[in-house]
Amino acid sequence: MTLTTDHSRATADGAHSHGVVPAGSRAERKTSFDLADIPVPTGREEEWRFSPVARLQPLFSDELTGDGVAVTVEAAPEVTVETVGRDDERLGRTGKPGDRAAVTAWNAVREATVVTVPADTVASGPTSVRIDGTSKDATASHLLVHAERHSEAVVVIDHRGDALLNQTVEVLVEDGAQLTVVSVQDWEDGAVHASSHRASIGRDAKLKHVVVTFGGDVVRVTPDATFTAEGGEVEMVGLYFADADQHQEHRLFVDHAVPRCRSRVTYKGALQGASAHTVWVGDVLIRAEAEATDTYELNRNLVLTDGARADSVPNLEIETGEIDGAGHASATGRFDDEQLFYLMARGIPEIDARRLVVRGFFAELIDEIGVESVEERLLASIEAELEKSMSVITGAPAR
């Protein structure tokens, strides 16, 4: 079974979108810094309709007072790290919260971590931000990654341990800067994590934004990218692997608000085990003024076992005819038994054959990440994930 939509040749079309069309356009979605403007969701709202709202409930409270994560930053020597109060004027410049989790995170947080790459500086190595879950008190946290004019850096945010975390990650890429931000969700089993990533991309700036989700009970990441001046570019890459009962949701929004910007979105996921659930929603809005926009988004899911569910909804809204290109593709397929037969008929044992196919599925994506330490870790994590489903074949007890 393979379901596909491929609209790589989509052209100007005032109402080109798929799935259940949201109430109004993304341009009209409520965004606000004020808690009172965005109520606790029921689960029927467009942005929550795939989510296990009950499991996320602790993160919707207006009293996220816990202190359940420890933040440790190991910065490249050129990069500065500060802890600032919530009133620091650098915070809140990348856009307003767009859903209940995001607005509670914004209001609850008392202080924020600010990572700054100074203007005209090239960081000599990656900067690592470790977020370790230490208790299950519902906690808010805030991180700003600020790449000043013509700087270059790689920042890896790494989530481990067990936590109930509601997080804001602001990414401010100023004119001419080139920034890679990688967020790895490698939580232990019980973690619940909502994360609003809001990126603002300046003139001729380039952001590579990578999301990797393996662990946790519920992980819901909502990356927004907004272009604020011409010539900007964003490449959004995601890789996820959901096991039994895990919910992994990635909702992206690329806002082409200005002319001559380019966006590429590529997310791939694998699922295994009963009630493993992944959601990918990719909204792209090309506003009337965004002439010469070039955008393409793709999502692929590989369902390895029965009982798993992948939802995939690309939405493309185009308000101008003067674009260079706009398209999307989405496909969800089961593990292909014919591939397995072909490889086994060449003497390759079933376990190795499955491994080859799944590694092959992710191979291209991993190459795109461009951060060696992350790539190696990813390959190891994929191996570890596969061990779980292989246990069914080898007869060894599952995790």
Binding site: M344, R346, I348, L356
Partner: protein
């Protein structure tokens, strides 16, 4: 000297309406170095025989035996059959995205031989075999069968036959869809493997033209799930002239 022995083989295929019998008692013995052509009209069960021998899960053996030098092939898993020396060149080779031809060939060779081939020797052997089959060296880095033309897929199958050196190779309509040049290249590959390894070949085909390049020792005519007639190469010539009509019930025709 190896022997592949098929005795009274009955095979059903899973369909939505339940199991449907396709093979109805096949008897066939192939020895090393021999080439057997199996010919027959569409739907006679030729390809089912190939898939069942390789162990495709869609096909269920309901009775009969298959042995390789006395070992029970039907008790082996798909990969065990390959490691025991059976090779199936598929009619429709499958695409495996993200797995390079080079990685695939090395992984399979290692599995079949039980240990990894020496790096330098192997690289040279692969390069040489690819050249012989006129496969561009860039294919080594491409994903298995992905975006290959029909002819490229078939050459890639024969490449594997040459590199893996099986005891018995089943070629399932390897000639279908090939132009004359590709047919010649592919046939040369099969003949090279025959000369260098004494492989026994089961050549399944609908047409006689491949038999101009690969000389069969025996020809079997397959009709309605069993062998209807057997003979030497002269039988193929007769089929070329007469087609399969005389094997079919009166009033029906088949294209040859």
């Amino acid at each position: 000297m190896s022997t592949l022995e098929i005795r009274d083989l009955h095979v059903s295929v899973d369909t939505k309406e339940g199991a449907k019998p396709i093979l109805r008692g096949v008897d066939l013995t192939i020895k090393s170095g021999e080439t057997h052509a199996i010919m027959g009209p569409n739907g006679s069960g030729k390809s089912t025989l190939a898939s069942a021998l390789a162990g495709h899960p869609k096909y269920e053996v309901t009775s009969g035996t298959v042995t390789l030098d006395g070992e029970d092939v039907l008790a082996m898993s798909v990969d065990e059959r390959a490691r025991a020396g059976l090779f199936l060149a598929m009619q429709y080779p499958v695409e495996v995205p993200g797995v390079s031809v080079a990685n695939f060939l090395r992984t399979a060779k290692t599995a079949i031989d039980g240990d990894a081939p020496s790096l330098r020797h192997w690289a040279k052997e692969v390069r040489g075999a690819m050249e012989n089959l006129r496969i561009d060296s860039s294919f080594a880095e491409r994903s298995v069968n992905e975006g290959f033309s029909g002819g490229e897929k078939k050459r890639h199958e024969i490449l594997q036959m040459e590199l893996f050196k099986p005891h018995f190779a089943i070629l399932d309509e390897t000639d279908s869809g090939l132009d004359v040049d590709a047919l010649r290249v592919v046939s040369e590959g099969v003949n090279r493997a025959k000369e260098s390894t004494d492989v026994g070949v089961l050549l399944i085909t609908h047409y006689t033209r491949i038999l101009r390049y690969i000389k069969p020792d025996f020809v079997h005519v397959f009709v309605d799930g069993r062998i209807a007639e057997e003979g030497g190469p002269e039988l193929a010539e007769r089929l070329e002239e007469e087609g399969y009509d005389r094997f079919l019930p009166a009033g029906t025709t088949a294209s040859a």
